[in-house]
Amino acid sequence: MKAERFTWMRHQLLSPWFMAGVLLLIFLSAAPLLFAPYTIISITNVLMYIVMTVSWAFFSGPTQYLSLATAAFFGIGIYVSALAGEVLLFPLVITLGALLSFLIAVLVGLSTLRLRGMYFTIFTFGLSELIRHFVLWWEVNITGTVGRWVVAMDHTTVYYAMLTIGTVTLAVTQTVRISKYGLALRSIGDSEEAADHTGINVNTVKLFSFAISAVFTGAAGAAMATRWTYIDPSIAFNPLYSFMPVLMAIFGGITRIHGQIIGAVILTLLADLLLTTFPYYYMLLYGLILVVVILFVPGGLTGLQTDLKRLWQGGSGK
């Protein structure tokens, strides 16, 4: 039995995707020596969206509970950085952001994961907005000043931080997805009642994976906070941070992790491009992309790939 385990692991480790990933990681680690600061910042941005998209799809993909709480956890991370950045070391700030997001996700999950479908989605959206309004009210009435200054950090440090967070996110989500835990998640998404009756502790599994999806987003928020020298609630808890990962995952293909990554990469670079070339139209173009994708390519790019493959092989691929 042990020998079989090793074969399986060797198979995973030697798979082309994994090897490519390792090579890419090595390459990216050396990037600051090879590229200009602007490129590094751009890659950092892409890494941020990869983390958010993969995290979101980890929970919402298999369970089909469409969460719009990403902005809440991201914003929490940002505010942790703003509040603790002067006092704590950077790695600690990131860990704190991650932990706080985890905690809040558990609290939120305990109360809301019994809501189904649309109710859950609206709830998560309402929650993110509530936090935003609350922090704003707090700053206006209690702290006295809206917004905070963030401790500056050089772009290379932020880059390596995001690279680390990104790698950890991918490693954890992939490992879990392949494990029996991932099987449980998919079962819940397919038929929650059947999963319950087949011995899966549905509540615990949902809660835990929701919390995992929050952890890395919180860490990313804490790491990225320094890209804005000044933050306020509408910057930190911008609802767009909830929608972008959803759009990116759907665009790339929600079921496979490489789809999520591709979706994040393409749309982030596209957004960068649009912001610089058509700053007045970029919302319009994003909206159009969203509508077109949902209408014509709901399976995303990787879904399109599967369809094309089937077409190529001729006949139905069943």
């Binding site: 039995m1 397919d190 009642e193 059947a194 009756h197 549905v202």
Partner: protein, 239 residues
């Protein structure tokens, strides 16, 4: 040995009494049938036993242990498995994966590694789905889907199996196959509790039959006694 005891079980939904002080027991190794007109509360009773519903009052005892109020996954791991009236397979997973889920999560003692695969294959073979492991559950015809549900339930290693109208929608040949499968399951040492409308099957298979009407148990006994029971004939069999 009494594998299942239902004591004074009651379930109300607002003003509606779905299960009204139902009291019975199931002996180990038997095949017990549950019949009654539509709306009699048969599936509700199953839901109460499997943990999908919490009783308003009363007790459910399994192998001497009080399992009232436990969650479905806990009851599954203790050894009660069920199928559903409306088939609830993991439609987007393969036939093999459906069974694997049962083996991986539903058993009281964990099985690891290749043992999971072996057992899954064996069970699929047992229910007659050998060779169809790679197909998607949603692509199966209805008869095979029912077999898969049974396989998944068996995968959780139960001692008591609840089958909810497993023969509904099957043609006469398939009904015959289902009867054979049920007998084979019993021969493996399982206790079976069936809800069925196919009278011939119930009368032929069961050692004991319980009759439910508007949530009340109106009769209980071996098939011969039930057929002769005047109340049952009036209400249910239409004479």
């Amino acid at each position: 040995m009494r594998i299942l005891e239902v004591k004074d079980l009651r379930k109300t939904f607002g003003g509606l009494v779905a299960t009204n002080r139902v009291d019975f027991h199931v002996d180990q190794g038997n095949i017990v049938g549950l019949i009654g007109p539509n709306g009699a509360g048969k599936t509700t009773l199953f839901n109460l036993i499997s943990g999908a519903l919490v009783p308003t009052s009363g007790k459910i005892v399994y192998q001497g242990e009080d399992i009232t109020g436990l969650r479905p996954y806990q009851i599954c791991r203790k050894g009660i498995a069920r199928t559903f009236q409306q088939i609830k397979l993991f439609t987007n997973m393969t036939v093999l994966e459906n069974t694997r889920v049962g083996v991986t999560f539903g058993r009281s003692a964990d099985i690891q590694g290749p043992g999971v695969e072996d057992l899954s294959f064996e069970l699929l073979d047992f229910v007659g789905l050998g060779g169809m492991e790679k197909g998607l559950a949603k692509d199966l015809p209805i008869g095979s889907q029912k077999r898969l549900e049974v396989a998944r339930a068996l995968a959780t290693g139960p001692k008591l199996l609840l089958l909810d109208e497993v023969m509904a929608g099957l043609n006469p040949t398939e009904v015959g196959q289902a009867i054979e499968l049920i007998k084979r399951i019993r021969d493996r040492g399982m206790t079976l509790f069936l809800v069925e409308h196919v009278m011939k099957a119930i009368m032929g298979l069961c050692d004991q039959i319980i009759v439910l009407h508007y949530g009340v148990k109106i009769a209980e006994g071996p098939p011969a006694a039930i057929v002769a029971n005047q109340k049952v004939n009036e209400i249910y069999l239409g004479t």
